[in-house]
Amino acid sequence: MAACVAVIAKENYPLFIKTIPTENELKFYYTVHTSLDVVEEKISSVGKNANDLRELYLGLLYPTEDYKVYGYVTNTRVKFVVVVDSSNASLRDNEIRTMFKKLHNAYVDMLCNPFYKPGDNITSRAFENIVVGMLQGD
């Protein structure tokens, strides 16, 4: 379903990236990286007001011909980026939201592991399994 799922740290370095098996993984990396521009833009435009309860889901970051890039930012500014094939018209906004919700939960579960140091690359297998599930489109 999704083509690429990425978790990006507050400081914009990748914690976790998983793509569908493809020859040019780097293309997705570039896409995700570029999407950070928009994510940053959206965060900074909202974040001015401290009391503003920001919506975590950022919505469609930017479309390209082939892919749509969606963003989600947790309260600790950890970013989730999901790239979906734009030909997949069946995906509605709501489904993307649930996808992010699931991802967020998985991330929180992973974070609860006392042996995980916040900021380290994510190596949790449980988390990976959930992401793989999203990529395979269940």
């Binding site: 780097l26 990286h33 570029t34 521009d37 479309p63 011909e65 900021g119």
Partner: protein, 918 residues
């Protein structure tokens, strides 16, 4: 309404959706037609927006136009690809006809009259499709526009992405030098943001670009980087590893320096000690992790050592000594490579040729606690971070902090070094050792791994490994070879021992020895080939670490007169055999300390060493009396444990007086051997030719020889027939004796009152004292003498005057006293002492101040015998106007001293008092 940007925003969505829809609905269209339509739409919308946006670029406006520009650019690129208009592609006839179709599909140019600067989108597209050159021009223009707009709205990432595509394009048009900059920009950004995979992926492109550039040194660096990257596939890594090796061969002229950070990690640095002596070996153990995909052999690995302040080193030492820290420290170091806390994993050091613009936080912030007390009361406490200023300083406004710090090869004049090392992929343990030739505090500066012209540099200052080098100054000592101390008066074999301490002597240098008069240090003569050799051999090698070779070197220069010191490595010793002679002066009685100055050319230093000489003999003289006969005894004893002397030709002379003959009583050919435990006693009788003996100044001399004496060694075996040839060493002892002539004979006896009866306890006995003047002295008559009788009151009770005056008549006098023995047994006689009486008047000038002792008549008899010849005494007769003057022990001959009498116990008593008298 000033909302022209809304058109752009909506156009964007519309265009994307349409394209997707067209695809989804599988609408047939000629290849490229959709692209052409998108480009045209974009450009038209942009034109329209521009038209209605009279003001400057508005941020909002730019926000959406940027996307449009980018989209148009992408489509143009696709078109270029499709029609082979991209450089490097040769359009086929099919593609040419496609171009014609597309151009015709766009319709006629609407307004021909427009100025060339303001062409309609259709014209633009048509023009760009017309030829590769104009395509290139238009494509670059469009890229420029898109990038510019992106940058304007702060979407640097998007801008860089276009930059990379631009780089691709430039490479295709064979302008790699332009491409390089775009790629470097991108890599820098990716590395700053920690997208290693992207950075390394771009690095591969950079490598290709640099290969085109035919810049082998840059290519080498990039290949090296890729080869060590964890993000790149193994095949690629190995490929670039080979590339690196082959380009290493190409670069020959100059050395290339680069950071080793990506390739080599230092996991552990361990010095075997914090403090080391100058010129001592120091060992450094390093654990390196090589990221090269294959084993890499380096020509050399060096670790430079740089000076640092003493304080830094001390601080480091203290940290090392805190037990908790020392055990943690190594593991922390390991951890620091793996741990990637927020934003800090982009360790400065890990970026090969790049520096981050933004400041990274250190992964640990050091702070310490402080407490302030006054008069024992806590005033304040807190935590302090010493680097707070540095850490908190704003980096965004201070652009200077962002300037890259180039890494240069440091000073490797002092370094740990190892040649031809092969590092396997992964962990490698290396051990270095070096000698430091300078004192001070040092730290490890940099590591340099060299392969031919490539030098991988790694700064190690951050590891904070410090050490101190202390020096031991060179030392020169003079030491006798066969005895514990130098002995005056004989020439001894000795060693001038040079310990180099921490400094070394590189070349032969001459040694000059200066001494005070009577003291000589000379190079030892060659060891004779004759029997005395055993003497030299066992002692030849006093310091165990001196090898035979250097010993040869030492001996040979000595053949010539001056002394030469062979080259000396640090921490070693060298001995030069010398002979030391201290002339024994006539008046020398005691030990003597002299100084020898040894100057060594090579060190340009003069060493002063105190040398103590022990007087070999210890002599005591004494005069003995038997009646009027006098004897002079001299006891000579050795004072040094190791030295044995043989004395010959003892002579005693009184050079000033010819009236006294000195006759040696010892047998003439007696062997006189002297050492510390054996003394020689020489006895002379004094035969006077005159009645009145004068004071005598006596001089004793004798020849002596010792086994330790080098001179005797050398000469004796060679010239046995001329024993007198070497000037014999003589020992002189002088003394003077005076007031030693016997003037009076004193004898006394205790006897029972009744004749032929033994004394009994408690019964009165008679002490008969006789004083006789020696006849041949013409002493003046009427000299007043005094006597005292002293006895322990529990042994003798003395009746009558225990002291009194008398004058000799005809040279004789006798006194009778009653004494009562108080104990039975063998009793010593009460001690009788004679004094000379002096008139108080004539004696007034002499010192008094003895009044405090005025009533000490009951002192034990021994006290009066104390050898204080001229001491004045006042007895119970002190009220008399006389002073008493003691005679010297030689002037009175006491015949009865030490005589005893047997006293029988009292018979009548029922109680028996038994006393054992020892």
């Amino acid at each position: 309404m000033g909302r022209s940007w809304e058109a752009a925003m909506r156009a964007m969505d519309y265009l994307y959706n349409t394209v997707v829809e067209v695809k989804a609905l599988e609408i047939e269209a000629p290849k490229g037609a959709v692209s052409c339509w998108v480009i045209l739409s974009c450009l038209e919308v942009l034109d329209a927006c521009n038209l209605h946006n009279p003001g400057q670029l508005d941020e909002r406006f730019a926000l959406y136009t940027a996307n449009l520009w980018d989209y148009a650019r992408k489509k143009l690129r696709d078109l270029g690809q499709l029609c082979s208009l991209m450089p490097g592609l040769e359009p086929t006839s099919e593609q040419l006809s496609l171009v014609v179709d597309l151009v015709s599909g766009m319709g006629l140019s609407s307004q021909d009259g427009l100025s060339p600067t303001n062409k309609s989108p259709v014209d633009k597209l048509r023009e760009s499709l017309s030829s590769p050159n104009s395509f290139k021009k238009h494509y670059l223009e469009m890229c420029e526009q898109a990038m510019g707009t992106y940058k304007y709205i702060g979407r640097y990432r998007s801008a860089r992405l276009i930059g990379m595509e631009l780089a691709d394009f430039h490479m295709k048009v064979s302008k790699p030098e332009k491409a390089e900059n775009f790629l470097l920009d991108s890599i820098r950004m990716y590395q700053q943001e920690g997208w290693q995979s992207l950075a390394d992926g771009t690095m591969v492109k950079l490598a290709q670009c640099q290969k085109q550039l035919s810049d082998p040194s840059k290519y080498l660096k990039t290949s090296c980087h890729i080869a060590c990257s964890q993000q790149v596939s193994d095949a690629e890594r190995i490929h670039y590893f080979q590339e690196m090796l082959s380009s290493l061969d190409q670069v020959q002229d100059d050395t290339i320096e680069m950071r080793a950070s990506q390739a080599i990690f230092v996991e552990k640095l361990y010095l075997d000690g914090f403090s080391v002596n100058l010129n001592d070996d120091m060992t450094l153990t390093v654990t390196l992790i090589s990221n090269f995909p294959e084993a890499m052999s380096f020509d050399s690995i060096e670790i430079s050592i740089s000076k640092c302040s003493e304080a830094e080193a001390t601080e480091y030492e203290e940290r090392q000594h805190t037990p908790a820290q020392s055990s943690v420290a190594p593991s922390q170091k390991v951890g620091s490579h793996r741990r990637q806390p927020s934003g800090t994993h982009i360790a400065l050091d890990k970026m090969s040729n790049f520096q981050p613009v933004t400041k990274t936080l250190p992964n640990s912030i050091e702070f310490h606690t402080f407490t302030e007390r006054t008069k024992g009361r806590l005033v304040s406490c807190g935590t302090v971070c010493d680097r707070a200023h540095e850490l908190l300083s704003r980096s965004d406004s201070a652009s200077s902090t962002g300037t890259p710090v180039p890494l240069f090869k440091g000073d490797y004049s002092q370094c740990f070094s190892q040649k031809s090392v092969t590092l396997q992929p992964g962990r490698n343990d290396l051990s270095f050792s070096t000698k430091v030739t300078e004192t001070g505090a040092f730290r490890l500066g940099q590591m340099c791994l060299a392969v031919r012209c490539l030098e991988l540099l790694k700064p190690l200052a951050g590891e904070g490994v410090y050490f101190k080098v202390t020096s031991i100054p060179p030392e020169v000592t003079l030491k006798p070879r066969h005895s514990g101390a130098f002995i005056m008066g004989i020439e001894q074999e000795a060693e001038l021992m040079f310990s180099s301490g921490s400094s070394s002597l590189r070349r032969e240098s001459s040694v000059a020895v200066t001494t005070f008069p009577f003291f000589s240090v000379a190079p030892a003569p060659d060891p004779p080939p004759l029997p005395p050799a055993p003497h030299h051999d066992p002692a030849a090698d006093p310091s165990g670490d001196e090898d035979d070779g250097s010993r040869e070197q030492v001996v040979s220069p000595v053949r010539g007169r001056g002394m030469t010191l062979a080259p000396l490595s640090s921490g070693s010793q060298q001995a030069i055999p010398v002979t030391v002679f201290m002339n024994m002066r006539r008046d020398a009685v005691q030990d003597l300390t002299s100084t020898v100055s040894v100057s060594v050319d090579g060190w340009q230093e003069t060493f002063h060493t105190d040398v103590k000489f022990v007087h070999p003999f210890h002599s005591i003289h004494k005069v003995y009396t038997a009646g009027k006969q006098k004897y002079f005894q001299l006891v000579v004893q050795g004072s040094v444990p190791e030295a044995a002397f043989t004395l010959t030709e003892p002579r005693l002379e009184s050079p000033a007086c010819r009236d006294v003959d000195l006759v040696l009583i010892n047998p003439p050919n007696q062997t006189l051997r002297v050492n510390q435990h054996q003394s020689v006693s020489l006895l002379w009788s004094l035969e006077a030719n005159v009645a009145l003996l004068p004071s005598l100044d006596l001089g004793f001399s004798c020849c002596y020889s010792s086994d330790l004496d080098v001179a005797s060694h050398v000469s004796v075996p060679e010239q046995p027939e001329q024993p007198g040839q070497p000037s014999p060493r003589t020992y002189h002892y002088s003394c003077s004796i005076h007031d030693f002539q016997t003037q009076y004979l004193l004898s006394y006896a205790v006897s029972s009152i009744e004749e032929d009866k033994a004394c009994t306890v408690g019964e009165t006995a008679v002490l008969d004292i006789k004083v006789q003047q020696l006849a041949d002295l013409d002493l003046t008559e009427g000299v007043k003498l005094a006597y005292t009788v002293k006895a322990n009151g529990t042994i003798w009770a003395i009746g009558g005057k225990s002291s009194g005056f008398f004058t000799l008549k005809d040279g004789k006098h006798s006194i009778v006293l009653d004494v009562v023995p108080m104990q039975a047994g063998q009793l010593f006689y009460p001690l009788v002492t004679l004094y000379k009486c002096m008139d108080q008047v004539e004696d007034a000038s002499m010192s008094e101040g003895e009044s405090s002792e005025s009533d000490d008549t009951d002192l034990s008899p021994l006290q009066t015998k104390q050898a204080k010849p001229m001491r004045e005494r006042e007895g119970s007769i002190s009220q008399l106007p006389y002073r008493l003057l003691e005679f010297t022990s030689d002037q009175i001959f006491n015949e009865s001293r030490s005589r005893q009498i047997h006293v029988q116990p009292c018979t009548a008593n029922s109680e028996i008092d038994v006393t054992l008298v020892p």
